[in-house]
C-alpha cells in the first residue's frame, strides 16, 4: 500500500522526499481516531503506572535481577496481545485487512545497534518513552529531563540519519 502512491517524476527532489515517506500513506486511517486516542493514552498510562513500570527502582531491579515484576508484565502483555490479535484477525475481516497492512520491519542487523543504544539509555535513565511521559502525570518532576532528552534524541535522529528514514 505504501509503495503504490509515488510522486510524479517531474516534481522537484524535495517534494519526492516528502511524499515518499511511508507514514503519510500508511497512516491515512489514523485520522478517524482523532481525539478518542486520548482514552487509549489514559488507559496505557494507567496500566503502565499500575504495573510499576514508571518506577525507576523497578526498572533498575529488573536489570539487576532482583525484581521480576516487569519481565512478568511484558510477558503477559505479549501473550494477551498475541491472543487478542489472533482472535481479531480470525473474527473481524475488516480489522484483519488493516492488521495485514501493518508494515513488517525487515531484518536489518544495523537496527540492533539502535537497540543497544536504547538499552543503555533505558538503564541509565530508567525510562522508556511511554513511562517518561506517564511519570510527569504521576508528579515526578524529574521526568522533564528524560523527556527533553527524548525529544532531542529524536530530532538528532531526524537530522543525522535522514537516509535511514528515507530507505524505509
Amino acid at each position: 500500500m505504501a509503495k503504490k502512491i509515488i510522486a510524479p517524476k517531474k516534481t522537484i527532489n524535495k517534494e519526492i522526499r516528502l511524499t515518499s515517506q511511508p507514514k503519510i500513506q500508511t497512516k491515512k486511517s489514523s485520522y478517524h481516531l482523532g481525539f478518542l486516542a486520548i482514552f487509549f493514552g489514559i488507559a496505557f498510562g494507567f496500566f503502565l503506572s499500575k504495573s510499576r513500570a514508571t518506577d525507576f527502582d523497578t526498572i533498575l531491579n529488573m536489570f539487576l535481577f532482583t525484581d521480576f515484576q516487569l519481565y512478568g508484565v511484558i510477558a503477559v502483555a505479549i501473550a494477551v496481545t498475541a491472543l487478542g490479535l489472533f482472535l481479531l484477525h480470525r473474527n473481524q475481516k475488516s480489522i484483519a485487512k488493516q492488521i495485514d497492512q501493518w508494515e513488517n520491519p525487515v531484518i536489518d542487523r544495523k537496527k540492533m545497534i539502535g537497540g543497544f543504544v536504547f538499552g543503555i539509555g533505558w538503564a541509565l535513565a530508567g525510562i522508556c518513552p511511554g513511562t517518561a511521559i506517564t511519570q510527569l502525570g504521576e508528579g515526578k518532576w524529574s521526568a522533564i529531563f528524560p523527556i527533553f532528552g527524548l525529544i532531542v534524541g529524536i530530532f538528532a535522529y531526524f537530522k543525522l540519519m535522514p537516509e535511514v528514514k528515507r530507505k524505509k
Binding site: I24, S49, I78, T81, K111, F118, L136
Partner: protein, 159 residues
C-alpha cells in the same frame, strides 16, 4: 481492599498490569486498526514541529501522548504529590541535582535516538512486535535487554 484503593492507590501484580497493557494494544487495533507504539507517537509529534509529515496537532498520536500523563495521574490519585526524588538515581548522582538532570537527559537522548534507530521502543517492539511474531522485534528486544542489563550492572555493581 476496596475499589478505590485498588484503582487509585495500590500498584498491581505483574499479571494484572500486563493484562491491561495487552488489552489496550488489542483495543487500539480493534477500534482504530492502529498499532501501539509510544516512540512512534513521539516521533510523529516531532514531525509536526519539523513539518516533515502530514501529521497535525489533531492526529491521534498527539492525543495518545496527552492521555499518558492523565493515566499516570489517575493511577496515583489517592496519594498524589509532586516530588523531585527519582529512586536510586539520587544515589548514583550523589544527591547532586544538576548531575541527576544531566544523567537523565543523556539517558533520555539515548533512548530517543535508539528508539528511532531500532524502529520502536518497548511498547512497539517488545509488546506488539513480538506478539505479531516479528523476528526483528525479537532481535531488538534482546538488544534492549542485553544492553540494559550490562549497563545497570556496570553502573550499580562495578562502580
Amino acid at each position: 481492599m476496596n475499589l478505590y484503593q485498588i484503582l487509585f492507590v495500590q500498584t498491581w501484580p505483574w499479571w494484572a498490569g500486563g493484562l491491561g497493557l495487552g488489552l489496550t494494544a488489542v483495543a487500539l487495533a480493534w477500534v482504530a486498526g492502529e498499532k501501539l507504539g509510544v516512540s512512534g507517537c513521539l516521533s510523529a509529534a516531532c514531525s509536526v514541529v519539523l513539518k516533515k509529515n502530514k501529521e497535525t496537532f489533531s492526529s491521534w498520536p498527539i492525543w495518545f501522548l496527552i492521555g499518558l500523563p492523565l493515566g499516570g495521574f489517575l493511577a496515583n490519585l489517592g496519594h498524589w504529590n509532586w516530588t523531585w526524588l527519582y529512586g536510586q538515581m539520587d544515589a548514583l548522582s550523589l544527591g547532586n541535582f544538576y548531575l541527576k538532570g544531566f544523567f537523565l537527559f543523556i539517558g533520555g537522548a539515548l533512548v530517543g535516538f535508539g528508539a528511532r534507530w531500532a524502529g520502536g521502543c518497548t511498547s512497539g517492539h517488545s509488546i506488539l512486535g513480538i506478539a505479531r511474531g516479528n523476528k526483528m522485534s525479537i532481535l531488538v528486544t534482546v538488544a534492549f535487554l542485553v544492553a540494559g542489563i550490562v549497563t545497570a550492572h556496570f553502573l550499580y555493581k562495578v562502580l
